[in-house]
Amino acid sequence: NAGVTQTPKFRILKIGQSMTLQCAQDMNHNYMYWYRQDPGMGLKLIYYSVGAGITDKGEVPNGYNVSRSTTEDFPLRLELAAPSQTSVYFCATLQFSSGNTIYFGEGSWLTVV
């Protein structure tokens, strides 16, 4: 049982490049989230999903896209990378039956130069 797995852990992108941060979970949790954490700041919600086929915007969705074709996977897409997207990205999951505990991935460090 791996929990929440994020790939890659580290990535350097050039301005204007695109990439996808992968998030996979094996706990059959219905809710999934993407947060970003800028230096010295708290986590901010980018997008979330309440189940397969359903996604919605969080606080800071601009510059990102997500999809949720399966329960297990919730990829985050950056289409035109900008320096402002340099951050640590965390994927998280939740299942109501677990007492509303949110489980986090280890994070993905992204630098845009």
């Binding site: 929440v4 809710y31 989230y33 947060y35 010295g40 700041m41 708290g42 986590l43 901010k44 919600l45 979330y48 309440v50 919605d56 969080g58 965390f90 998280a92 939740l94 007492g99 509303n100 505990t101 949110i102 489980y103 986090f104 991935g105 280890e106 994070g107």
Partner: protein, 109 residues
């Protein structure tokens, strides 16, 4: 909009001394409040939540609705308590958490 404030970025305490991390929130409804912890090189994990009224690793936190606070306390800090601590608020049925900026706690041996 809801907001979570953790006023102190860095807190250094000696081993055995009490530690208190302050968290204040602004939200007009009935919030659910949490403390998350991130130890070095580990993922963010739940420490405790206000509805459970539990003590985890010697830490407790009481929700004070009058003062809109959810301060985290431990009477005797241990070296293994060195970590980043985040206060978080959940405001709706989708469990979207709003996080504070976090507190870096360093316990000095």
């Amino acid at each position: 909009a809801q907001r979570v404030t953790q006023p102190e970025k860095l807190l250094s305490v000696f081993k055995g001394a009490p530690v208190e991390l302050k968290c204040n929130y602004s939200y007009s409804g009935s919030p659910e409040l949490f403390w998350y912890v991130q130890y070095s090189r580990q993922r963010l994990q739940l420490l405790l939540r206000h509805i459970s009224r539990e003590s985890i690793k010697g830490f407790t936190a009481d929700l004070n609705k009058g003062e809109t606070s959810f301060h985290l306390k431990k009477p005797f800090a241990q070296e293994e308590d060195s970590a980043m601590y985040y206060c978080a608020l959940s405001r709706d049925g989708n469990n979207r958490l709003a996080f504070g900026k976090g507190n870096q706690v360093v316990v000095i041996p």
